[in-house]
């Protein structure tokens, strides 16, 4: 396979709140032969769930600024956060299709010496692993299969737009296949598509707790060993959020949550320290005992 080299858009949630996930992901990329160069002058994507409603033009302009900066670096832009992926993907698509909007955005970007051209693609982590590298190639890197582990996938909502190109959005299987690569058993479950309810945090906390609890309860009943996601916000919701649920409901959910590259890294032989598992709120010791 030719060398894969991308400009990396790390976002804000991962570098600021989950830097251990960034570190783990970079180690896995390195082992897979994926080279990444950080985007110079990266700002917030911006967030596709609040800023876009508050000021859509600001959303377009700031996202286009990031895309323009990435175009200057010349390589495809790789995202490791589903929120960033959605914003950058949608803005890239809309500006490519709408010349008037593109001109207006560029008239503002001109003030800071930038110009959006629409010349690069936005790529997601899921696309990179599942579509570009592919499960067969990934399998070659597995040195410690996670045999015997039952892992529940949680794809999250923002990535579904991206799936249209390589998976079936109404019945996605990419994340399940990627779990299978690690040697673990991906399980299908009723609340698989229930959202992480992050947005409800600002609006109705009880609804958020109910939604989290519903999924965690089903996973408890199924006796899964862990939940895996590719979205840092979903990760925070189910990891730190799990403690909130326990506090509010007096339950004792204890389901370790992984960002996908951490699970893959464990199967590739990286240690739990290298994969940053010590930083998780719900400890994965139970799962690791089975493994090591």
């Amino acid at each position: 396979m030719s060398t894969l080299h991308f400009t990396l858009f790390s976002g804000c949630v991962i570098p600021a709140r989950l830097p251990h996930i960034e570190a783990a992901t970079l180690k896995v990329f390195d082992r897979l032969g994926v080279k990444v160069t950080p985007l110079t002058d990266e700002s917030c994507c911006p967030d596709p769930t609040s800023i876009v409603f508050a000021d859509k033009m600001a959303w377009y302009v700031l996202a286009a600024r990031n895309l323009a900066a990435a175009e200057e670096q010349g390589r495809e832009l790789l995202t490791i956060c589903s929120g960033c992926d959605l914003t950058l993907r949608l803005v890239n698509k809309e500006l490519r299709q709408n010349q008037t909007l593109k001109d207006r955005v560029n008239s503002i970007l001109k003030l800071v010496g930038r110009r959006y051209r629409g010349t690069i693609e936005v790529r997601s982590l899921l696309w990179l692993l599942y579509e570009k590298i592919g499960v067969d190639q990934l399998k070659k890197h597995i040195t410690r299969p996670l045999t015997g582990l039952k892992i529940a996938p949680h794809l999250g909502c923002h990535i579904i737009h991206d799936l249209e190109a390589y998976d079936n959005p109404s019945n996605p299987r990419s994340l399940n296949e990627l779990i299978k690569v690690t040697g673990a058993e991906p399980i299908r479950y009723k609340t698989e598509k229930l959202c992480c309810a992050f947005f409800a945090r600002f609006i109705d906390e009880n609804k958020m707790i109910t939604a989290l609890d519903e999924k965690l309860t089903e996973l408890d009943e199924l006796g899964v060993d862990g939940l895996v996601t590719i979205c840092p916000t979903c990760f925070l919701q189910y990891d730190a959020g799990q403690l909130e649920v326990n506090l509010k409901t007096k339950k004792n959910h204890n389901i370790p949550v992984f960002y996908y590259t951490q699970l893959l890294g464990l199967a590739m032989g990286f240690s739990k320290e290298e994969m940053g598992l010590g930083f998780h709120r719900v400890k994965a010791d139970r799962i690791l005992e089975k493994l090591l």
């Binding site: 600021a16 700002s43 600024r65 959605l86 503002i108 959005p169």
Partner: protein, 150 residues
């Protein structure tokens, strides 16, 4: 169902497991399937709606609750949330709109705290520099644009 010929209500016997009504309904509005599969289809629709929730969210805010009820149905958490707390949501979005510069400065530009920077260093991660002045220039010009048009 009502049998017009006999003038009596009769119970559907599913034509012995091969319902003819399904065959004559060329628009595909009728479906003979297991209840489980039916709810799965609904789940799929809900998932798709959620997928679009960030996008649909914008519509929901602008077009109000009716749209969300029509497009995503009552089972969807997002819709329930909006229905139950539309006022809270409106306030939240108003807050976002009124505090854009603060939000961008604090969240969008991500001012990293010393604790975060220390942790990044201990993990061997690169320094992150945000283009604060550039973003502020853009925001300033964006707000003057909206004042002109508003």
């Amino acid at each position: 169902m009502f049998d017009a010929l006999t003038g009596k209500a009769v119970k559907c016997d599913l034509c012995g497991g091969d319902p003819k009504c399904i065959k004559v309904c060329d628009k595909g509005a009728l479906k003979y399937t297991f209840a489980e599969d039916l709810s799965k289809t609904k789940e799929d629709l809900v998932a798709l709606s959620i997928s679009a929730s960030t996008k649909a969210g914008l519509l929901v805010m602008k077009l109000g609750l009716e749209l969300s009820k029509k497009t995503v149905g009552d089972t969807l958490l997002f819709s329930q949330m909006v229905s139950a707390k539309a006022e809270g949501l409106r306030r939240f979005l108003e807050h976002c709109a009124n505090n854009l510069s603060t939000i961008f400065n604090e969240a969008a530009l991500t001012t990293f705290s010393e604790t975060v920077l220390r942790r990044r260093r201990s993990l061997g991660l690169s320094e992150i520099k945000r283009p604060k002045e550039e973003v502020q220039t853009l925001l300033k010009n964006l707000s003057s644009l909206s004042e002109e048009s508003g």
